[in-house]
């Protein structure tokens, strides 16, 4: 039995004439301790898929099993990093994270929790900004707060919806390593939604493309057979890396082309535009 199992998942938004089938026949199973990345086109239903797994949405049909049990609600066992950060604008960085750890560790003392908040804020290098409100932060800083909030809750499974999209290459690299660190040290299971094939190859055990919507479904998986810990600088010379990368990109371009010729709509490669939460 897999750790997480999605069987014949369909998701339809709306009813009657306005109904759109966003996801069709999604089948996915993730083993405990695995790191799986999903790459997909913008608007194809990645966030919908994430929300189905974290328990915020219910599938129209099909079943989702987490450790053998159907998912009926959200759970602290599955931590979420939202695509649009979803920080509460009236709380400071520290308060946003504190709120989360207080819920995750209801029996800990205030002092321990505060220390935990400090540690995770330091992990994402935001210590100087701990008392700032989200609107005083840049998009990348907000994203780091969202990462810290999810990881501070110490979830068994980490679900990440394009968590590093708004970051510069350097910070992005650092946070990738932090996430990998936590994942491997505590033997977590991770699901990463990303728009960056290289990021997927660097971090994941498997990459699965999500085809463009509507009726998006998962494509064939690509196994990444590269030793861990992976070295970013050495990756480029790894023949395995090059082969996998080319195969994935070719596949993505093919399904992109196919869609274009059918629907005449242009699919641009995924590019996140996080929603400003104070607008």
């Amino acid at each position: 039995m897999a750790y997480l199992e999605l069987n014949n998942i369909y998701k339809i938004y709306g009813e009657g004439d306005g109904a759109t089938e966003v996801l069709s026949d999604i089948n996915l199973s993730i083993e405990e301790g695995e790191f799986v990345a999903i790459v997909g086109f913008t608007g194809s239903g990645k966030t919908t898929l994430v929300n189905l797994i974290n328990g915020l949405l219910k599938p129209t049909s099909g079943e989702i099993l987490f450790k053998g049990e159907p998912i009926i609600d959200t759970s602290h066992e599955r931590g979420v990093i939202f695509q649009n950060y979803s920080l509460l604008p009236w709380l400071t960085v520290g308060q946003n994270i504190y709120m989360a750890v207080k819920e995750a560790f209801p029996n800990e003392s205030k002092r321990v929790l505060q220390q935990r908040v400090k540690d995770y804020v330091a992990m994402v290098s935001l210590s100087p900004a701990i008392n700032k409100r989200p609107k005083e932060l840049s998009g990348g800083m907000r994203q780091r707060v969202a990462v810290a909030r999810a990881l501070a809750m110490n979830p068994e499974m980490i679900i990440m919806d394009e968590p590093l999209g708004a970051l510069d290459a350097l910070t992005r690299g650092n946070l990738q390593d932090e996430i990998l660190n936590i994942w491997s040290k505590d033997k977590r299971t991770a699901l990463l939604i990303t728009n960056d094939v290289d990021e997927g190859i660097y971090m994941a055990d498997r990459i699965i493309p999500l085809k463009p919507g509507p009726n998006a479904t998962l494509g064939p998986e690509f196994k990444i057979d590269i030793e861990r810990p992976r070295d970013k600088t050495a990756l480029n010379d790894n023949p395995n890396y090059k082969k996998t990368r080319n195969a994935i990109i070719e596949y993505l371009m093919d399904i992109g082309e196919a869609r274009k010729s059918v629907s005449q709509t242009e699919y641009i490669l995924p590019e996140i535009s996080p929603k400003s939460f104070v607008a």
């Binding site: 328990g55 915020l56 931590g79 939202f82 979803s86 509460l88 009236w90 409100r133 609107k135």
Partner: protein, 366 residues
């Protein structure tokens, strides 16, 4: 530490810029001054224009009424009466003055006489208190009620009564509308159940609210000789003004950003936490917009309600002056009008300040 160092560096590095900066800032201030002068100049000009038009208008009205009086005396009683009337009006005798829109100067004079009157009454009160001190002490010692001053209220007392009534009404509106708004905002079914209620009672006029409250309070106070005008008027004001807050609170609570609700769900906040840590903070800006409208409505309906309730406030003052028909009654009414307007403006500013304080996204220009 790091910040310190960079600051120092900048300070030194930019030292040579200092004279230039001073020049720049003084220039900037000069520009500021000019624009400030322009702005206040326009304000002053507009006030002067307003006063001028008012003066001319009231003069025209005065002449029209004076001419009519003389004309009437002429047709009804002949030349002699007309001449007498003309002389009487010219002499400034109060018995035959036209009673029309007063000129700015008259209103100003009335304001001063009202303030002088206030001083007289305050002195009176003080004297009364002094005279009664010994007696009152005795009465209190005997467990009886002290004798209080029951003379005429001064204009300032009247204004204070009105402000007191408005705040009591506002508080009542807040205590009723905010909790109910939160509850019906949280539940879509309660919201639709309450909707007809809100739609029907929202447009009801202050006069009707007054009558309704009067019916109820009168019975509650039956057999009690104490003055219930204040109670009736503040309850009416509150009920009349609370709807904006009720509607806005319900709307704010029911339309919290879905992202925040998702956060609450993923963190698995309890209902209490969810309401007080997520839903309420996010709807505070809308709640305060509602409260601001409530306060201004409260102040607006206050005048009508005080008039009906015979509560010693500005509403009754205006009505009594109108009934009174004394020579300076009209100008006192205009004084009251300005006082009402200015206080209303100040109350609105106060609420705006509070609203900006609690609104987390004020920098976004919402």
């Amino acid at each position: 530490m790091e910040q310190d160092i960079t600051l120092k560096k900048e300070g030194q590095g930019l030292a040579f810029l200092k004279p230039m900066l001073v020049k720049l800032t003084s220039k900037f201030q000069q520009g500021d001054l000019i624009s400030w002068l322009k702005k206040s100049g326009i304000t002053i000009l507009s006030i002067a224009l307003f006063l001028g038009l008012w003066h001319l208008g009231s003069k025209a009205l005065y002449n029209k009424e004076a001419n009519y009086k003389i004309e009437k005396a002429l047709t009804e009683q002949g030349q002699e009466a007309a001449d007498a009337e003309r002389a009487c009006i010219a002499s400034g005798d109060s018995s035959c003055q036209p009673n029309t829109l007063p000129a700015p100067s008259q209103v100003w004079a009335s304001l001063q006489s009202l303030i002088a009157d206030h001083k007289v009454i305050t002195a009176d009160k003080a004297a009364f208190a002094q005279k009664m001190e010994a007696t009152n002490e005795k009465l209190i010692a005997q467990g009886k009620d002290a004798i209080v001053y029951t003379g005429r209220a001064s204009f300032i007392d009247i204004v204070l009564t009105s402000i007191k009534t408005v705040f009591a009404g506002f508080l009542l509106a807040l205590l009723i509308a905010v909790p109910i708004g939160i509850i019906i905002g949280l539940s879509p079914s309660l919201r639709s159940a309450f909707n007809w209620f809100i739609q029907i009672f929202k447009p009801v006029s202050p006069v009707v609210w007054y009558l309704l409250v009067f019916m109820i309070v009168k019975t509650l106070y039956i057999g009690d000789s104490s003055d219930n005008a204040f109670v009736i008027s503040f309850i009416s004001v509150g009920l009349c003004a609370m709807w904006a807050t009720l509607v806005n609170t319900a709307m704010g609570v029911s339309s919290v950003d879905k992202d925040y609700i998702n956060v609450a769900k993923v963190l698995k906040l309890g209902t209490f936490q969810k309401v007080f840590k997520v839903i309420l903070p996010s709807s505070l800006p809308l709640i305060f917009t509602g409260l601001r409208i409530t306060l201004s409505v409260a102040w607006m309906v206050l005048i009508a309600i005080e008039l009906l309730a015979q509560s010693q406030g500005l509403g009754l003052f205006v009505w009594e002056e109108f009934q009174n028909g004394a020579n300076d009654s009209n100008s006192k009414i205009i004084v009251a009008m300005f006082v009402i307007g200015i206080i209303g403006f100040l109350l609105d500013r106060l609420m705006l300040m509070v609203q900006n304080m609690v609104s987390f996204n004020k920098n976004e220009g919402v």
